[in-house]
């Protein structure tokens, strides 16, 4: 009888806790989405500023429309190594190139 009681209490507690947890998870997901959008906007603005300066230092800056998104992933890794571009600057330029 005692295990049955414990089980019932556990089930009851789970039901009580499940609702707030689900709400918290949804809230966290919404917040994460908003944060991701804000980060995208920040990187895009920074990338738009850095792209003509950093790229033109060695060669003509090529527009984002020239390559597919996955190609920019590869090229930006290559350029980050070659130019020793600071990581956040590289992310910003990549975001800008992939968005255009």
């Amino acid at each position: 009888m005692e295990p049955m009681k414990t089980l019932m209490i556990a089930v009851l507690l789970s039901v009580i806790v499940a609702g707030p947890i689900a709400k918290a998870a949804a809230w966290a997901q919404e917040n994460a989405s908003a944060a991701a959008q804000a980060e995208h906007r920040r990187l895009f603005r920074k990338g738009a500023k850095l792209w003509p300066v950093y790229c033109n230092t060695c060669h003509n800056a090529r527009p984002g429309s020239e390559k597919a998104s996955y190609e920019w992933d590869e090229i930006m890794m290559h350029m980050r190594t070659l130019g020793n571009v600071p990581p956040d600057d590289a992310r910003a330029i990549l975001e800008y190139l992939k968005t255009r």
Partner: protein
């Protein structure tokens, strides 16, 4: 008093007494009648007003009834709309719930596609070009025959990028060329890059020498503003062009946006030379003479960017490099260099100075050499706006004018390196050095004190498609030695002042 007259008087008095009130009454009657008429008129007017007001009230009452009816209808409609909206929202919510429960979100869909296609990506970039070279060689140089020549050359340098994950990249660059030497194929680069963290990247394999700015950043044919390389990186290079080994590198921001600093450290196979004589061609990682490549190399480069982007003052890069290694047993080869690059708007300038020292076997003295170049380019776009014809304006908007001065100083040049570069034979007689892709073929390039002024006109069809035209003036200074393989040296006499024209169409893939 007369008795007879008395009754008459009395009668008269009585008559008057009676008549006066009567007259007053008649006058009073007339005034009341007027008042009555006025009152009657007033009453009639009031009656009319009342009647009018009653009509007005009736009309207003009707209007109020009508408005109340309309209001009631509107209330009913509003309730209906609210009900419908609530129902619609419920339906939408149901659909969303169903979609969430039963179908993939866009992120999930993308993820599913990625899983289907795989996370590995692969692409081919690089460059390709066709080159026309005309080299006028009016003078001989110490018995080396030559002659003016012109030829076409082709080159394709595909770069393969393979990205297994976001922390690792493999790159390979091949070079397939066709020139007067025939068809050639070469592996220029093959390395992997591992991004350990934000500040350290490991590069291993065959890579461009990270010395200065030229080999790594300026040597691709569509990136180089000229057709040829500046003299310190051309046929008589001061430091080897490539290395097989491993690097650690990275960059970081030290101040405002754009104020960066970066480092590269590497170790590799080490330098080798074509001959154990002064002035021999330096190479790595391919040992020109394997017996002479014994020591490993180590190098370092630091680059500094002092100008913040927000100041709109352009971008300045200042760099310093060193590359050192042993060759032929315990003999040292050491080198250092400094470089700069400044870019703002239509203007771009860059330059490098580098020096190397090589300890030599007996009986030779230390073999020192140095080289430099300074280059200035200016885009004409926007220039002459308004007064040039539109057709001319369209051309100038894509045109870049360039000038470059470069030179090399070395005590000696290995004569075998020059003759080894010359394979065009006519009836057993050598007739000239070989022009090839990016090389005019002028023997003046092999002079101990080579100097070159290069003038360029680049027409940019697109950011990575360019038609380049270069006119070279070879102006080597007299002096120095030609040394043969057994160490016998001859003073260099004449200085060939060649002219060369190179035209190249190239595309960055």
């Amino acid at each position: 008093m007369n008795a007879r007259r008395f009754p008459k008087l009395v009668l008269f008095v009585l008559a008057v007494a009676i008549a006066i009130p009567s007259a007053r009454v008649r006058a009073d009657d007339s005034s009341d009648a007027k008042s009555l008429r006025t009152i009657v008129r007033e009453l009639k007017r009031l009656e009319r007003d009342r009647s009018h007001d009653r009509d007005q009230i009736q009309r207003l009452e009707k209007r109020v009834d009508q408005l109340e009816t309309e209001n009631a209808q509107l209330k009913a409609s509003s309730t209906e709309v609210k009900t419908e909206a609530t129902q619609t929202a419920q339906v939408v919510k149901q659909i969303q719930t169903q979609q969430t429960q039963s179908q993939a979100s866009p992120q999930e869909f993308s993820s599913a596609i990625d899983r289907y296609l795989g996370s590995h990506t692969f692409s081919v970039t690089g460059a390709a070009g066709v080159d026309f070279l005309y080299d006028q060689q009016p003078h001989a140089i110490d018995g080396i025959p030559r002659g003016s020549q012109n030829t076409f050359a082709l080159d394709w340098e595909p770069m393969v990028l393979y990205r297994p994950a976001d922390w690792i990249l493999f790159e390979g660059v091949g070079s397939f060329s066709f020139g007067q030497n025939g068809t050639g194929a070469d592996l220029s680069l093959a390395d992997f890059q591992i991004f350990l963290n934000d500040y350290v990247t490991v590069v291993g394999g065959l890579f461009d020498q990270p010395f200065g700015d030229w080999y790594e950043n300026q040597s691709p044919m569509w990136v180089n503003r000229f057709v040829t390389a500046p003299l310190p990186f051309a046929v008589e290079s001061v430091v080897p062009p490539a290395e097989a080994g491993i690097q650690l590198r990275g960059g970081m921001q030290w101040g405002a946006e754009g104020q960066d600093i970066d480092y590269t450290m590497w170790t590799g196979t080490g330098p080798s030379f074509s001959e154990p004589v002064p002035g021999a061609t330096v190479s790595s990682p391919t040992p020109i003479r394997s017996a002479q490549t014994n020591g490993k190399s180590f190098g370092g480069r630091l680059r500094f960017y002092p100008i913040p982007v927000d100041t709109d003052c352009g971008r300045l890069e200042l760099g310093a490099s060193t590359y050192n290694g042993k060759w032929m047993g315990d003999r040292w080869f050491t080198s250092w260099g400094v470089d700069f690059n400044y870019f703002k708007g239509n203007l771009q300038t860059r330059g490098e100075f580098l020096r190397s020292y090589r300890s030599m076997p007996t009986p030779f003295a230390q073999d020192n050499r140095e080289g430099w170049y300074v280059q200035v380019g200016y885009f004409l776009n926007g220039l002459g706006q308004g007064f040039l014809p539109e057709v001319v304006q369209k051309i100038t908007d894509k045109t870049e004018l360039l000038v470059r001065y470069s030179g090399v100083n070395q005590h000696s040049v290995a004569i075998d390196d020059i003759t080894g570069a010359a394979a065009v034979v006519s009836s057993g007689v050598q007739v000239g050095l070989l022009p090839d892709f990016g090389l005019s073929g002028s023997p003046a390039l092999f002079a101990p004190h080579a100097r070159e002024v290069a003038l360029g006109v680049d027409y940019w069809i697109a950011p990575s498609i360019v038609w380049q035209n270069e006119f070279d003036l070879e102006l080597p200074r007299a002096g120095g030695l030609f040394t043969n393989a057994n160490g016998t040296s001859l003073p260099v006499g004449s200085t060939p002042n060649d002219r060369a024209f190179l035209s190249q169409f190239t595309i960055g893939l």
